[in-house]
Amino acid sequence: MKITTITQEEHKKAFRSVKKPEVIQKQKLNVRYHVEDLDVSDRPRKFLEAFAIILKHSNYKMVLDHFIRMTARCSRCSVACQVYQATGDPRDIPCYRSGLLLDVYRRHFTLGGMLKGRVTGGGYLTDEKIQEMADSFWNCTACRRCVLECPLGLDHGLITHLGRYILSEIGIAPRALVVSTRAQLEGPFKNTSAIPVPALKDTLEFLEDDMFEEKFVKIKFPLDVDGSDYVFFAAVSDYLTEAESLMGIAAVFTATGDKWTIGTDYFDGINYGLFYSDRVLERVVKKVDDETKRLHGKKILIGECGHASRTARQFVPAYCGGTQALPVVNIIEYTHRVWKEGRLKLNPGVVTERVSYHDPCNYARNRWIVNQPREVLKSFCKNYFEMAPSGENNICCGGGGGTVSIDEIRPYRTTVGGRMKAEQIRRSGCEVLVAPCANCKKQLRELVEDQGIDCKVVGFHDLIYNAIEFDDSLKVARDEAGKEAK
């Protein structure tokens, strides 16, 4: 899909720095996102030390060795990258971005590079190179679309991930993510939005009342139920902004009668570690596992959130027992299964708008969740249509890789990162776009607002909630419902 590159004016808007000049000077770092105060002395040495320690305790050396023997710099990945397609700046080509870190590895961690460096006296890591990496790695939305276009099969997303990880070890990481993670791992409320448990309970009770008034069915959010089939972790921001998605999920469980619960000791599915630090990633994944085990749950169930689902599915086995680890299920997988089994009835007359489905990269890139939501949507949305490209080749919303949580870069996200997606939505004439991911939903809403596109962005379970039909046995008579509500 071809798009026009940004104009000079858009460039100015997207790349403006929100940091005060004195902060830039103090931090010796001019990036578009806020960074917490950090030690600025001897930065290259610290970067290399962090790099060396990470290499020692990870599998990245094998990946980097493979990359440096392979990169052909054919630039084919440039056609897949929505950031490069928007800026037209060759420094945004995925292969160039990976090259920034590969050059450091080659120069400082391989014999040939070290010898060459000695002979030529150059190639050392400098503050300027660190600055370029700090910029470049956070320009990327980590959507990994470029992986599909690399003829040599190189995963540039993995190199961006590593680059951000090393930078975070020397204090260069978006403050928004670091602060949220601190609240999640060390704060009193143990979640990224700092929601206290009483507030969570209030919210859920309010939603239960709402659902009762609308559906005449007692739909519950069960808390701390021991021995449930599923222990549920939503992206915690859903409790603040995605009430309909949560109501849809609760409604599905009420219809099926399966046992599920939300743990009050730990209920946040968000894992920003995927975006900037393997150490954070590991700690958060272990918390999810611990909470499920505390409640003697049989499976970990993740809500409508791409990165939360991918981190749990990919890293619970890695960090929490390998083949013995608890199974991880995404809520769409669950809903699709019960619908296929005939345990979920959906009214085909409720949703009449032109509906399409946006694939969150973390679901679709590895062909995990692609057809399941489509099968369900097609069954009850009269005017469902497919945007192209989609599925495995989908276009990123432009807020991937944690960038959506960095509010100060919204102009970048909606001008550069999401430009291709905006064009796709505009051309398709979509009225309702289903985006079953907390990050995608936030980004797409901001995108359609900033780009002036008339399209409503909803979650998958928002539509399920609208269309769900309950057995009569579950319904409470209208007059009785009125009394209960009073």
Binding site: I53, I54, K56, H57, S58, N59, Y60, K61, M62, V63, D65, H66, R69, M70, T71, A72, R73, C74, S75, R76, S78, V79, A80, Y84, P90, R91, I93, C95, Y96, G99, G112, V147, L148, E149, P151, L152, G153, L154, D155, L158, D278, R279, L281, E282, R283, Q314, F315, P317, A318, Y319, C320, G321, G322, T323, A325, N366, R367
Partner: protein
Amino acid sequence: MTTSSLLEFARGPLFRLSFAILILGLGRIIFLEIWGIIKAYGNTCDMKMPWQLIRSRSLEWILPVKRMMRNRDVYSVVSFLFHFGLLIVPIFLFAHINLWQQSVGITWPALPYLWAFWLALSTIVFGATMLIGRMAVKQMRFLSKPQDYFWLILLLTPFVTGFICANLSINAAFYQFIMVVHVLAGDLIFILIPFSKIAHCVLAPFSQVVGAIGWKFPSGADEAITRTLDSPKG
């Protein structure tokens, strides 16, 4: 040293040496690659591999019929045909097989003359197109390092010289000179392949496995890193 003795040296001892370096060098990096993969796999608790995805994505690029035409179709076709000729012509050329038969006594079917002619010519044309593309297309020029140009020129050298010797009427002295360049360039390619990006000729099939295992992070890395950072040496 006369041209003819240089030619004998280049296609005799020097060729044997460069061929040995090629085989041993490629053997070394394949060994290191597999060793690295096994070691990394042993570091992780998550032993489940997405074999179906790995297989299908590997095949998609080894036989790039599906992927090739989706984006940058001209570049893709040119690149594919260039790679095809690059592999097929040197291995199945009658003159090369003849040399193997004379020296070690082994033989295999050769390309018919016309096939060899057109395939060699197309490889030269497509190789030159890739070289021009690298210089002309903005993003390719930006990414390219000197070795990227060097390799295209080096790979085309034996093709151009071989094509001249096989198809043009030239005098004996010039023929010998061109032939020396042809063989020396071939020797140099063999020597350099294991130490350069052309190693992708044997490493490309491992990419998907490397990517899949690369995303399997070892358990306990967080604690180990904290320990290392806290240690007096750390």
